[in-house]
């Protein structure tokens, strides 16, 4: 068991998972806006 390597990976785990939600949030916002702007 390499706890030192785990400690190295934990910030990437947190930042990465949070990052997906942030990027996804931006895309959701843009899609919603896009749909509203192009509504016929």
């Amino acid at each position: 068991m390499r706890v030192d390597l785990l400690m190295e990976a934990l910030p990437i785990m947190g930042t990465g998972y949070l990052g997906i939600f942030i990027v996804t949030g931006v895309i959701i916002g843009i899609i919603t806006l896009l749909t509203k702007l192009t509504k016929r």
């Binding site: 390499r2 390597l5 785990l6 785990m13 939600f21 959701i28 899609i31 016929r40």
Partner: protein, 373 residues
């Protein structure tokens, strides 16, 4: 006669094991019809590269090395070209109708990050742990792209695990979904409000997503760019025959070449190692925790919103398109034959496709920043 005896003497028990593995893959492709365009060339290739003649370094190995060099190692041509075909296959309408579904696509990438931590704890350095964890993207091209970019020495095992588990989604996901949900939750019906989506939105969507990802997660832009380019070909309405070619002929041809190229890294000496088994195990962990993450976020949303969500659709956020959506739909029908979850699960599933690519890009960016690559 002498040559024949010499060649037979080169055969090792490890080669025989690899022939067996190749045979199993061919069996799954033909009899069980699991991803035949991929598993058939992989199975055949596994036998091909483990013949004594291949060990001697004849033409077979040179051709496979050339395919590997062009298609995977150099410019990652195969995964990117395959994404054009996948993009052309995907109809993003269910997602555009209800963009909130993207949250589940993001949530179901949890397995990637959980596996990253677990692989690190097991002693894999950051480069390899990240490459192994990306099996959880449930998306072969992304796994190959990330593992190649990070220069992982376990590329062969990662490719085999990624594609095998994608084919096994109908077997892996149902028990996890049932374990994480109650019967009452699985019976939740969801209204599908099929709002019309304008053609302009469908055309602008791939362009806008490419621009956003290009700005926010530039390391994912090659993958998302080719995926969205394929989708633009589909949606533009003036390239119908090219769209059909990309979805069928192009995707199938690239998959066949990809399969046999993956097999070139299945030589007994490299493949039959304890690490391969550990990586295959970690890949399964990634798929299980992806499913778990998607379901749990759906359950969390049920606590916060009035309109109830069937938590099973969270499981479709695992990328494996379209198997995962079908699995969820089938489980819904098993509980109640009037519970049609297909449109919701497809929406989540295509979100998972985008989210897994973003996850791959973020992993690349974060790991490169950490190791200074």
């Amino acid at each position: 006669m002498e040559v024949l005896i010499q060649n037979v003497s080169y055969i090792t028990w490890q080669m025989l094991v690899m022939w067996g593995i190749g045979g199993v893959l061919i069996y799954l492709a033909i009899v069980k019809q699991m991803e035949p365009t991929l598993l058939l060339p992989m199975g055949f290739g596994a036998i091909l590269v483990n013949l004594p003649v291949a060990v001697e370094g004849t033409g077979v190995q040179h051709v496979l090395d050339a395919l590997f060099s062009i298609g995977i190692d150099g410019a990652e041509l195969f995964p990117l070209m395959l994404f054009v075909g996948i993009g052309a296959m995907i109809d993003f309408q269910p997602l555009l109708t209800n963009p909130k579904l993207m949250i589940f696509g993001a949530a179901a990438q949890f397995g990637i990050f959980f596996t990253l931590a677990l692989a690190s704890l097991l002693g894999y350095d950051l480069r390899d742990a990240a490459s192994i964890s990306i099996i959880g993207a449930a998306d072969g091209p992304t796994s190959i792209f990330v593992a190649t970019e990070l220069g992982s020495k376990y590329l062969g095992a990662i490719m085999v695990a990624a594609y095998s588990y994608m084919a096994l989604v109908p077997l892996i996901q149902p028990p996890i979904i049932k374990l994480c949900t109650t019967k009452a939750e699985r019976k939740i019906k969801m209204q599908y409000k099929g709002k019309p989506v304008s053609k302009t939105t469908k055309i602008l969507f791939p362009i806008v997503v490419t621009v956003i990802v290009g700005i926010v997660a530039p390391d994912a832009v090659a993958l998302i760019g080719f995926l969205m380019f394929g989708n633009l070909i589909r949606e533009c309405g003036v390239m119908q025959s090219i769209s059909e070619t990309a979805q069928n002929a192009l995707a199938n041809l690239i998959t066949i070449f990809l399969g046999i190229t993956i097999a070139s890294r299945m030589k007994a000496a490299d493949f039959l190692q304890v690490d391969t088994l550990i990586i295959i195990g970690l890949g399964l962990v990634a798929f299980v925790f992806d499913t778990f993450g998607g379901i749990m976020v759906a359950k969390l949303m049920n606590l916060l919103t009035k309109e109830k969500i069937n938590p099973m659709i969270g499981a479709a956020g695992i990328s494996a398109f379209p198997m995962s959506a079908r699995v969820v739909h089938k489980l819904g029908l098993e509980e109640d034959n009037q519970n049609f979850l297909l449109m919701h699960s497809v929406g989540v599933n295509v979100s998972g496709q985008i989210a897994s690519v973003i996850a791959g890009g973020l992993i690349l960016a974060l790991v490169k920043a950490e190791i200074g690559g």
